[in-house]
Amino acid sequence: MTDYSRLLSPKVQALKPSGIRKFFDLLDEMKDAVSLTVGQPDFVTPWHIREAAIESLERGKTYYTSNSGLAELRSEISKYQKRRFGLEYDPQSEVIVTIGGSEAIDLALRTIVCPGDEVILPVPAFVCYEPLIKLAGGTPVLIKTKEENKFKLTPQELRAAISPKTKLLILPYPNNPTGAVMDADDVAAIADVLRGTDILILSDEIYAELTYSGKHVSIASMPGMRERTVIAAGFSKAYAMTGWRLGYTLAPAEITSQMVKIHQFAIMCAPTQSQYAAIEALRAGDEDIEMMKAEYDRRRRYIVDRLRKLGLPCFEPEGAFYVFPNIGGFGMTSDEFCEKLLYEERVAIVPGTAFGECGEGFARISYAYSVKHIDIALERIGKFMERLK
């Protein structure tokens, strides 16, 4: 028998498979379980956006687009970023339409990171960064953000993590899983640390529209930061378009022209139908965003209030659609707590450790569910908490 371990890439073999799979398999078998685990909107993509994709099919738009994406779409992205966040990017040379925010992140890392480079990553963070940094040959340098700092990255923490090898800082805000945001003062303080260094920034702004405490502020809008920043953004969360797989990068032309080579050879172009849908989303979807955001915000207030009343300490998240309660005070690990909750009350929440060891003591609860569904789950969590007291 062939010894594959000798044949396959050691870098890939060294990646740890996602630990949460076992928990999700368990959940899939329990037909009566109520889940608060999902990391995507419960809304269906607004009809006018779906219709635009259907119309593109009817009109026979079934070819590849240009590598960077439809010119019309890039131009709408540029206008949208100006309109919503005050950022200016040239549609011709500074925008690449990608397969979701995920590809945008991968493109940036593969373009920037060299073997031996250190990449600073505030955690808890989404599961994709660490493996992608390692695949690019880099070394992740984790900064464990703290609950008492509302899981923000502080300038002191950043300064302490910087070494001569630091190449890149990843800024994943609004944050999955914590729901933390970085406001204008917070990113300004980070910019102060970086100014005068050669450190680049990958700012993952996929949840930018789901910021409840004011408007999202990109670090690229801070003086001296635009030229060193790659923004990864997309349509999944803002327009409820996860399955369309559509995102984009915004970066200075010098970086974009390098990233587009990887995109061109590995991907060719993002799906054409999704691109037509996205044009419609950007032209006529601002109201959809506001409607969905208002609904998430109401659920956010509701779930935080209920969890606190049930006796689960919970910092107030200001972005994305997750709450990250502290479950460390019950003499159980996160995994034990979540498994017990699933077995005893048939409610599934994600143990914080799914996002790395830094998540120990916490759990991620998604509120991308109807209030009715949330109510049922919280009632069961309430019974569980009664027994723990």
Binding site: S18, D28, G39, V127, R301, D305
Partner: protein, 158 residues
């Protein structure tokens, strides 16, 4: 304040306490607002959407287009009132276009409904003509799709 109205229109079961938390207001503020809406007739009732086809109740409904002669001074109001006073009638609207009043009625059987139209509505003074459409299947009402129990198709992806 019309966010409260929108929330209640979608889900009449929400309590003032729930709404207060969601909107960052006090329970008293929300209660006072709802009371005022009720007092001024902005909120005129609370009802439940039922798919009677899924029960064993004998049930038919029909939509009836009515052409009527408006009365001097009263316009269509008088005739509309006469019609909506019948308990069988569930809604009456004055509409633009080829006819005047759009009436929906409920009954146990087709016969009941036909009898009501033939013996009550059609003979009314001022009613010029009627066209009755029996409802065969209801797909969506009050923004809610009938018959499709919600299935969460989202897989477990972090």
């Amino acid at each position: 304040m019309d966010t409260i109205l929108k929330l209640l229109e979608e889900n009449g079961q929400l309590t003032a306490e729930q709404i207060a938390v969601m909107l960052g207001k006090t329970e008293e503020e929300v209660k006072a607002a709802i009371k005022q809406y009720e007092d001024t007739g902005v909120i005129i009732g609370y009802t439940t959407l039922i798919d009677w086809d899924k029960t064993d109740r004998e049930y038919v409904s029909a939509i009836i287009e009515l052409k009527v002669t408006p009365q001097r001074d009263k316009g269509f109001d008088r005739i509309a009132e006469k019609i909506y006073n019948y308990p069988e009638v569930t809604s009456v609207s004055l509409v633009s276009g080829g006819f005047d009043l759009l009436v929906t009625i409920e009954g146990k059987t087709l016969k009941d409904v036909a009898y009501f139209v033939a013996n009550k509505l059609a003979p009314m003074e001022d009613v010029i003509s009627t066209a009755t459409h029996f409802v065969l299947k209801k797909y969506k009402d009050k923004g809610i799709v009938y018959g499709a129990p919600e299935v969460d198709e989202r897989g477990n992806i972090l």
